[in-house]
């Protein structure tokens, strides 16, 4: 199978879906003429025209909300935010409009909107470097997708575009350049809500999200060389959230570590912990461990950033602690 980058996979998904469905449009700051600040969308304006691929003013409330309005009236907009952090700038439009319009109006409309959110710490500091998935996991009505591989980046984005609900699609900045095998063909889809078991094992369950997946895989490799076969689960989407996959794994292993690039308090790990308390406490033979940011904003200096962002080493250490 051919190998392409995560960034190319995203572009390919957009291209294929725009070709397939004339109601799909793409817009955001600098996406058309410049091709996006991460250069994901270069050439798309030339291919699909300025009506379907265009630049917007710096107006996150207007253009994210316009995505909702356009979705209500028959388009399938893909809105690019320059940074996932800007979800907070457009908070009303994301949480109260995209998430609640359908419900508040008794199901009269659907909101097939995709908001692309480049996430993750990359030397860009507190307001450009977050992985804010868990904030929005708390909000009803929003689908949340966070691919970790090139194949999932493509398959999940295509599913998100075809989905009739608003989807926040988190693409981690440090994954853009990573490469992987991606099936060819316009019909390659990865369903939302289905976790991927990246590595099988019975010693411990390691749940890793987004850019934590490659770090978790490296930690698992090291642990395997020490004789511990751990199971790595990539949920791939947080809404819908494949809870059974995690519970099933914990029933087998009795131990769980959750690695995520968000703040520890009320992060995805907290939700998984609560879920296990409710549904699988009797299977846990050690307490859950969370590897996450220690509840501070993300600092800009690489030295400070490295200290707060979970690493292969900190994931390895958390697993080791439970295995000892």
């Amino acid at each position: 199978m051919r190998t392409i980058s995560y960034a190319q996979a995203i572009k390919e998904a957009i291209e294929e879906e725009m070709r397939r469905d004339p109601t799909v449009i793409l817009y955001g700051e600098d996406v058309a003429n410049f091709g996006g600040i991460f250069r994901i969308t270069s050439g798309l304006k030339e291919q699909f025209g300025e009506q379907r691929v265009f630049d917007t003013p710096i107006s996150e409330n207007a253009f994210v909300g316009a995505g909702v309005g356009a979705a209500l009236t028959g388009l399938r907009p893909i809105v690019e935010l320059q940074f996932a952090d800007f979800l907070f700038t457009a908070g009303d439009e994301i949480v109260l409009k995209a998430g609640m319009w359908r419900y508040g109006h008794g199901g009269a409309y659907q909101v097939p909107l995709v908001v692309r959110c480049p996430s993750g710490a990359a030397g860009v500091g507190p307001e450009h470097g977050q992985c804010p998935e868990s904030f929005f996991m708390h909000a009803p009505g929003l689908r949340i997708v966070c691919p970790a591989t090139a194949a999932d980046a493509k398959g999940l984005l295509k599913s998100a575009i075809r989905d009739n609900n608003p989807v926040l699609y988190f693409e981690h900045k440090l994954l853009y350049a990573t490469k992987g095998e991606v099936p060819e063909g316009a019909d390659y889809l990865v369903p939302l809500g289905k976790a991927s078991v990246r590595r099988q094992g019975d010693a411990l369950t390691l749940v890793a999200i987004s850019a934590m997946v490659p770090k978790a895989m490296a930690a698992a490799e090291r642990l395997a060389s020490e004789g511990h076969h751990i199971e790595v689960i990539d949920p791939r989407s947080l809404n819908p959230f494949d809870r059974p996959a995690i519970i099933e794994s914990v029933k087998k292993t009795g131990k769980i570590v959750v690695a995520e690039e968000s703040y520890k308090t009320l992060g995805v790990g907290a939700e998984i912990g609560a879920m296990l308390m409710e549904q699988a406490l009797e299977y846990l033979d050690r307490p859950l461990k969370r590897v996450a940011i220690p509840d501070v904003p993300i600092p800009t200096s690489p030295v400070l950033e490295k200290f707060v962002i979970p690493s292969e080493e900190s994931i390895y250490a958390a697993c080791r602690e439970l295995l000892n």
Partner: protein, 317 residues
Amino acid sequence: MDKQIALDIYKKIILSRRLEERVAELIKAGQVGGFMHPGVGQEALQCAAIAALRKDDYLLYAHRGVAYWVARGIPLDKVLCDLACKEGGTNHGKGGVMRVVYPELGVLGESGTLGGCFPIASGAGLSIKVKGEDRVVLCFFGDGTSNRGTFHESANFCAVRKLPVVFLCENNGWAVSMPTERSTAVKDIADRAKGYAMPGEVVDGNDVEQVYKAVSEAIARARHGAGPSLVEAKTYRLWGHWIGDPDSYRSREEVEKQWRRDPIPIYEKKLGDEKILTEAIKQEVEADARAQIDRAVEFMQKQPFPKPESALEDLYA
């Protein structure tokens, strides 16, 4: 102005006023919830502006009264069921009277947060443009809401992309207890259009003909691809912000003076002078309004509340 249109607008205004009076009675009697913001005094502009729309145009109404729905032709029984948060309305108790919705008539619903309407309206405009349709979007808002950032972002967005959106400001002088002159730096909100290179026009919101003319022109402009416009209709909220508002923030003299500008007698005199409205027609219109409202109230009273567990439905498509 076409005589039939003038008379139709009159019927809608009367029906709206009488319905609002009945709704106030129902709220005071505890028969329905009270999350209703009456629009008494503003019906003329609301009905006149909506009369200028085509059936397939989009509408984003504001939270000031029932006239938007009456004017657009949403059945009264549905409006009342939404007010009562019962089945039989448009949103199954999910959004109450703040979120009456009617896709068949392009009624997109309402934003609970003030100013949430502007980006949604822009998006509907975007759809029209991308699909190459000749529909338009009419977006109502109040003077207070013109201070939201979403207004300014959306006005600019619509202007740079030449989207077919008509922004209609109902300047009723008050944002709950805050008078416009204390909340808003400009005297005329229409002046804000200049900042977005679109036409901005002030009209007397209690004059049906002026509103109909200005909104019709703005709609025609939008329909022909010339982009958005802003119309400011000066009016007055004759009742409180909600049913039961102590209304302690403004003087009785001010409100009394404004009752003398009540758009209904003004319009009746005008239609009478033009021989469009006779005493007989007037009586007929009143009787018809009463009968429609009676039927709708009776329907609403017989409707059940939604099943409690239906609270879990309608979130995802």
